[in-house]
Symmetry: C2
Subunit: 568 residues, 2 copies
């Protein structure tokens, strides 16, 4: 480590920037560390905007604060972390040869040069604004800055009965839908794809999640392409190819784009689709210049993906910051990359994904198998349990776990993060089944749902479990074939909720061995129950009795993303 | 796989037994599978007893039921799983040469022989009843069977104002304490060791947990050895070496012992301290005889432990059952062993451990380092966050993660189980810090607590963070040395809660760089804050200014297991 004080210049004051600057000062107290930020504020927690709008914070200032309520100002950073912050200061260009950055002070309008030994680009991202005519009308907002947050808050006040249209059903879109619905608004999400969260969930889980969101009163308009906006100055509606949705306020949440222009203009290598390329130490193609956070594109830890991943998240930005600061200070701690883990909560339901989806795995040419398990997250005698669904995706070749998707009002997040660790450590399905996941009734049934899910997929690969994903079952049902839908639940359960199809035959599992003669051997039989543990048992019972065209529907009725018939 | 139908005999009807039997029938529908159970009932969920007694179930029958409310009777197993269950049937001895088991039918009193091709011992465990005079008095209960559950329920009815004494502050002891306290009883836990959960937590976390349990009105009598009981037929008190605790009911929860006598008498290899020895397929020293669940002793997945572990848990019993059934049916799926993961919830606080504790690691001769991190489980603007503490234990030699302990009213269980996966996959601290744990505000701050904890320990090993575990700090404080306790919190925080020690100096972190002259360089300075992120910053600031006798107290005031002074 050099004894001479380094000049470290950091551009960008949200997550990666302050993290890098603070860590450099801790590692090398003598280093001269300056952070410049083009806006007037630093360390804004944009992830909190939906929760601010839902009413969890008194003021948007909360999103600038430390956990004990101290606002993160330039003075705060100087006094507690020991580095200098210059706000309203925007980098104009990088002179790599002379190692200096031309900056403009927006307060004075003056330009000046700032020298660096190490430069850190943490310029972040900006919301993508699609070039739709009229998108610059008033009350059309992206969700990124505190001005956005306050603008939305002002434009919906008072919210009761007002109409919000959200364009894009990704993470921010569904979080915003919940926030605005909770404030009493009429909310519609317009999504171009035929499912929500197309980048995150497979169609089956996305459709199950959509059912939940709709049941909470949000209107989902899927497969609708926005072509324009009505209204004079202020927006009054969102026009799609098919219809128009009235709107008092419009939220545009169709993704973000990396702020990589400064790097591109300086000749640093960037991804053709956007994002500064970095190595595992956060170095760009110029080793004296680092980049991290939303402006950079990540290597994936998933060797099977063989692709750079643009997954802009505060968690990754902070990891980058630490790795960069360490490397600047002579401590090499390479970053292994991201795994595309995503999560959100909407109306009490957790949705998440790690690794790759079934669809992605197929697109990569994998021989892929996946299975959906649905069931309670705790023993039935615990009062606060809830159902969760887990879909595991694995390679048929070596049973490597490629990804996991979760959903549910139960504790789905824990199972997602254990799966994340399993994918990180290149586990196969047998490994997952062996993890000594903690067990006590307030936390899980004796066999943890993640372990059960690994068993179902293992059984499927071993040819024991003839499981059909809900989509596969639906396709067979919709083909009009003369099949049997065998419901093996108890009479009480059958009375309360049913599959709305006149091909349903109801034989409780406990009676199945005695009533085999009621079933034909020359028709396809699709067995199911509430969550399909009994559906699987029924398949095994029937096969044992010589039926060879038997399947069960994975996830059962709780995991069924389509219509069910309820009584009473 | 043999085409001839195997005779599989399973002894024991709680967890491992039924799991093995059901799985064998699914894998080999033609196999003759019989399960015998010495009591009149099968599949009792003993883990649910505290929750039944707390009032979560209408009847103890709930603990025999499937998640959809079907009672698991012999008929249930025959009809849905296809194997035969004979209750009130107790194995007397095993004739290994002739491959048959002598059994006694308790209904008829008759004995008979049952032949087997494969025998599975799933004989479970029984509560350890210490040989204390008077322990056979009425209203002294162990917690194992449905009779115990109903007995306790009857003996406390009505519970309000009655006194319960619980002997043993392990998992079941604290779960029972909560259950009986919630029912309105006066509850005392008597524990021989000077901490709760001596097998699970280090002293510091145990003491923090004890503070929480006491604050919920349970009396903890630590370091008290029980020597007798008062009362004629019915117990009226528990006598220790020092005092007597009045008691209307006594719960004895000082551990369980494996039911390995049948195996021992048959000459199967057992551990000297109890437990049938099995290999990774569940085979005993006789390859035709398997054992699993609470009667068996496990290999540990932790190569660094080099020891067999007796950790009787329903989760492990089910894993055993699957591995045994697979092996019986020609599918080899070796079990990698257990990691000693334990968890419980008491008055809303989660307590858990995986791998080994600091104390255990030291006893094994490791150069061990550990660090305690305390902080919120979610961003401060989320309404439902809570504090959690994470203590990580690692080898100084190679930074291998050896274990993790967690505690908190926030979501500590998730961090425990990710750590469990990390230990399973032999992660080092840098690996842990790189896991792409899911991030969104309803689930975690941008840097997940587990990742932060790994950073603290890494910083400590790198000599950056001069952290002291609470116990180490307390020892220095108690030594009477002329030290400075530097509280760097805000004035508002200081007004609300303080360390009760007249050596405290209060300088908010933001003023520290300007007020350095108020601190002496010739005294040891122990800095702290609410959770000690700022304590760590203060240590760095002071070192930077030439103070070389500076430490910070890990976990801060939230993680401080001893007395603090509150205002108002």
């Amino acid at each position: 480590m050099s004894q001479e004080a380094q000049n470290v210049l950091v551009i960008g004051g949200v997550a990666c920037g302050p993290k890098t600057a603070a860590r450099v000062k801790r590692l090398q107290p003598k280093a001269n560390v300056t952070l410049i930020e083009k806006t007037g504020n630093v360390s804004f927690g944009a992830c909190g905007i939906p929760y601010y709008l839902e009413g969890h914070c008194e003021s948007v200032d909360t999103l600038y604060e430390t956990p004990v309520g101290v606002k993160r100002t330039p003075d705060f950073f100087q006094k507690t972390k020991g580095f200098t912050v210059q706000v309203n200061t925007e980098a104009q260009s990088i002179d790599r040869e002379n190692k200096q950055v031309k900056v403009k002070d927006h307060s004075s309008g003056q330009e000046r040069d700032m020298a660096y030994d190490k430069l850190v680009l943490a310029t972040g991202s900006r919301p993508f604004v699609p070039p739709i005519p009229g998108i610059d009308k008033q009350n059309i907002w992206s969700i990124k800055s505190s001005e956005d947050a306050e603008g939305v808050a002002a434009s919906i006040d008072p919210p009761e009965g007002k109409k919000a249209v959200i364009i894009g059903a990704g993470l921010i879109g569904v979080e915003m839908a919940e926030a605005l619905k909770q404030r009493g608004m009429e909310v519609t999400i317009v999504e171009m794809f035929d499912q929500i969260m197309p980048q995150i969930l497979d169609y089956d889980l996305a459709t199950l999640a959509a059912k939940h969101i709709r049941s909470n009163g949000v209107n989902l308009a899927l497969g609708e392409q926005v072509v324009g906006f009505t209204g004079q100055d202020k927006v009054t509606g969102v026009q799609t190819k098919n219809t128009t949705f009235d709107a008092d306020v419009v939220i545009v949440s169709v993704g973000v784009r990396p702020n990589d222009e400064l790097a591109r203009e300086a000749g640093l290598e960037c991804h053709p689709k956007g994002g500064i390329r970095i190595n595992c130490h956060g170095q760009t193609s110029d080793p004296e210049i680092y980049a991290g956070g939303d402006c950079a594109i990540n290597d994936s830890i998933l060797s099977y993906l063989c692709a750079e991943l643009y997954v802009p998240l505060g968690s990754t930005a902070n990891k980058h910051g630490r790795v960069i600061a360490n490397h600047i200070c002579g401590q090499t701690t390479p970053f292994s990359g991201v795994m595309s883990t995503s999560i959100c909560k909407v109306f009490g339901m957790t949705l998440g994904r790690t690794g790759i989806s079934h669809k992605q795995a197929e697109n990569l040419g994998y021989q892929v198998e996946s299975a959906l398990w649905t069931g309670p997250d705790k023993p039935h005698y615990m009062p606060d349990g809830g159902p969760i669904s887990i879909k595991l995706v694995a390679s048929k070749r070596n049973r490597a776990l490629l990804g996991a998707q979760v959903l549910g009002t139960g504790d789905a997040a824990k199972r997602l993060d254990v799966a994340t660790a399993a994918v990180h450590f290149k586990a196969n399905l047998d490994d997952v089944g062996a993890i000594d996941i903690s067990y006590a009734p307030p936390f899980s049934p004796p066999i943890d749902p993640l372990i059960t899910a690994s068993h179902v997929l293992t059984n499927k690969m071993d040819g024991l479990a003839n499981g059909l994903l809900p989509m596969q079952a639906k396709e067979i049902m919709d083909s009009g074939k003369d099949i049997i839908l065998l419901d093996v639940r108890t009479p009480q359960e059958f009375a309360a909720m049913r599959m709305p199809d006149d091909r349903v035959v109801h034989i409780p599992l406990g009676q199945l061995r005695e009533r085999l003669q009621e079933l034909p051997k020359d028709k396809d039989i699709l067995a199911f129950c509430k969550v399909s543990m009994r559906g699987y048992e029924a398949q095994r019972v029937l096969q044992d009795a010589g039926f060879d065209r038997v399947w069960f529907i994975e996830g059962g009725l709780v995991g069924w993303p389509f219509e069910v018939e309820m009584s009473g």
